[in-house]
């Protein structure tokens, strides 16, 4: 990786590929980072990573659940809530916005949850889908988090939340603000039960979501390049009347600020979660590193890895 790779080539590619960005029957989209054209059908198997620059594109919730769980996980049913408590309308009725999003996404709201095993460890995962009204948190998302926490309690396992949200859902007004304490109570239930609660901060995590459950994890993992913060960039720029430094509110900067524990690339996340859950479970594990006779074919490659995830079995192949 050098300046030519990182800067010049992407820019050149952006120039070349710009004209095609809206064509080809929507089968392609361009990488927001390097503008490389990505074939939509390939995205799921590539974990929504740009094959050119490694950029982590926002990942749909179903694909996320599929990618982190071992096979055989079960989706939690979506929770019913009182819809449109304010009878809200802006340019469009909130009910119509909901209807459109549901039709397009084939799900009820922004959070989808499942129960299963992650790299062999029992866990519940709740995943925000940014495509559903910007991943905004209203009563449905809040209820999904409470439900996921309850499931973790009844299964006596950890809870992982993948966040990707602009914040509270304005169209639900004060009801959405009330999801801040509500979601924090959900994390508090795990706290009292001594169960692991891990947050994976994905792009973007801001506003009411970051100012509640998302910042109260036992462990904070971020995806590379994720924007994480409270106030939006534009609001801050208007307040301080200066342009913000490069990398502001980005995962890579926030690790220096003490906000997150680690940045984990998407392809490693399942294995890392499994390891962390096991560590927090407090049970001893026989590590192959200590096993001199090393009779497993796949054990050797762990020694060469420098990311510290010395898992006994190789990371599950995700597709």
């Amino acid at each position: 990786m050098n300046w030519l790779e990182n800067f010049v080539r992407p820019k050149l590619q952006a120039l070349v590929s710009r004209d095609h960005s809206d064509s080809a029957e929507n089968k392609w989209r361009s990488c927001p980072n390097c503008a490389q054209m990505l074939f939509l059908n390939d995205l799921p198997k590539n974990l929504y990573l740009c094959q050119q620059c490694g950029h982590h594109l926002r990942m749909p919730a179903p694909a996320r659940l599929e990618s982190i769980f071992d096979s055989g996980f079960t989706n939690l049913p979506e929770v019913a809530v009182v819809e449109d408590p304010l009878k809200f309308r802006d340019k469009k009725r909130y009910l119509d916005r909901l209807k459109d999003s549901r039709a397009k996404m084939k799900c009820q709201d922004a959070v989808q949850s499942a129960f299963g095993t992650i790299a062999g460890e029992k866990a519940v995962a709740a995943v925000f889908d940014f495509r559903f009204m910007g991943g905004s948190m209203g009563s449905a998302a809040g209820s999904a988090l409470v439900q996921a926490a309850n499931k973790a309690l009844s299964e006596q396992c950890g809870l992982i939340v993948f966040t990707s949200s602009g914040g509270a859902r304005m169209q639900e007004g004060i009801i959405s603000l009330m999801q801040l304490p509500r979601s924090i109570i959900a994390t508090e239930m795990l706290q009292q039960a001594g169960l692991p609660y891990i947050v994976v901060l994905c792009d973007p995590t801001t506003g009411g979501v970051s100012a509640s459950f998302a910042m109260l994890g036992d462990i904070h993992i971020a995806e590379p390049g994720a924007t994480i913060g409270f106030a939006g960039r534009r609001v801050i720029e208007q307040t301080v009347r200066e342009t913000l430094p490069e990398g502001f509110q980005q995962a890579e900067d926030l690790i220096d600020k003490g906000v997150i524990d680690m940045i984990v690339p998407r392809e490693d996340i399942a294995a890392r979660l499994g390891l962390l859950l096991h560590l927090m479970g407090g049970k001893a594990r026989l590590l192959t590193e200590n096993d001199d006779s090393s009779d497993h074919d796949d054990a050797a490659h762990n020694h060469s890895e420098d990311d510290g995830s010395g898992v006994e079995k190789s990371a599950p192949v995700v597709s």
Binding site: V79, A80, V81, V82, P85, L86, F88, R89, D90, K91, S139, S143, V146, A168, M170, E172, G173, I174, I175, S176, L177, M178, L180, P181, R182, I184, I185, E188, T206, G207, G208, S210, A211, S212, F213, A214, M215, L216, I228, G229, F230, A231, G232, V235, I236, T239, V240, L244, F248, Q249, K257, G258, V259
Partner: protein, 315 residues
Amino acid sequence: MSQQLDFESHINALEARIRELRLSASEGEIDVADEIEKLSIKVETQLKQVYQKLTPWQKVEVSRHESRPHAQDYIDHLIQEYQPLAGDRAFAEDAAIVGGMGYFFGKPCMVIGHEKGRDTRGRIKHNFGMPRPEGFRKARRLIDLAGKFHLPVISFVDTAGAYPGLDAEARGQAEAIARSIQACIRVPSPFVAVITGEGGSGGAIAIAAADRLLMLEHAVYSVISPEGCASILWRDSSHRETAAKSLQITAQSLNELGITDEVISEPTGGAHRDHPATFRRVSNALKRHLNDLGAIPAEQLIEQRWQRYLKLNTA
């Protein structure tokens, strides 16, 4: 004369006329008592009319009125032997949040609130009531202290919101707010929050996730400012009046939604016209709710507080 609101300019004119008459009366030229009396009645009637029919946006303006009583005023008039506490023990003291211990009707309590500041110097000192992370961390510290000593908590909420600045972000604004809310839902003692003016989103709920939520008659409480909402959803901040209406941010709307436990009526013409009457009303309401809560064992108190949020808007 303090800040003037557009929709009451005709009343302000009458009030100015009364002042003029009083001045000339004091110079002993003519007897104006009758005239003053007549005008005063007119002012009273018109204030009643106007304030009964305030639109949501007009309420936003009233809630932000610079002469409304602030947290420090409530503390000074309601709390005896007040001992202000300062600092987050990690980085700094943030005067956007004030708080400390004192007696409320003879009983020790912890009191916290957003302070906007009264004059230019005050406003700068208190950062216009917009806390940075150290402010929320101080709030958390004080709420935790209250829990340790089983002191009831009173909070006065009045903020445009958490400060959106580079420094605030760098020191973990989101985490500081989250921890402050966490302290609210954890504290094993009675907790009553009063929205006295502007209840601005995360910065407000950081000290308002209480057992009881009271609101002054012309206060507002919202997930986003009407201006902010308008600029996002209508792409034009001039739609703030429509946004204010749609968001249902008035005490009356929130009471209908079941968010508040009591709306405290304000003196005619708003709290900014009569501080002493406002203090009396707030004081009475607080006393009543703290008495109710005082009878509930701590464990049950927390359970009820949790259920308040957990049950909200579930089908």
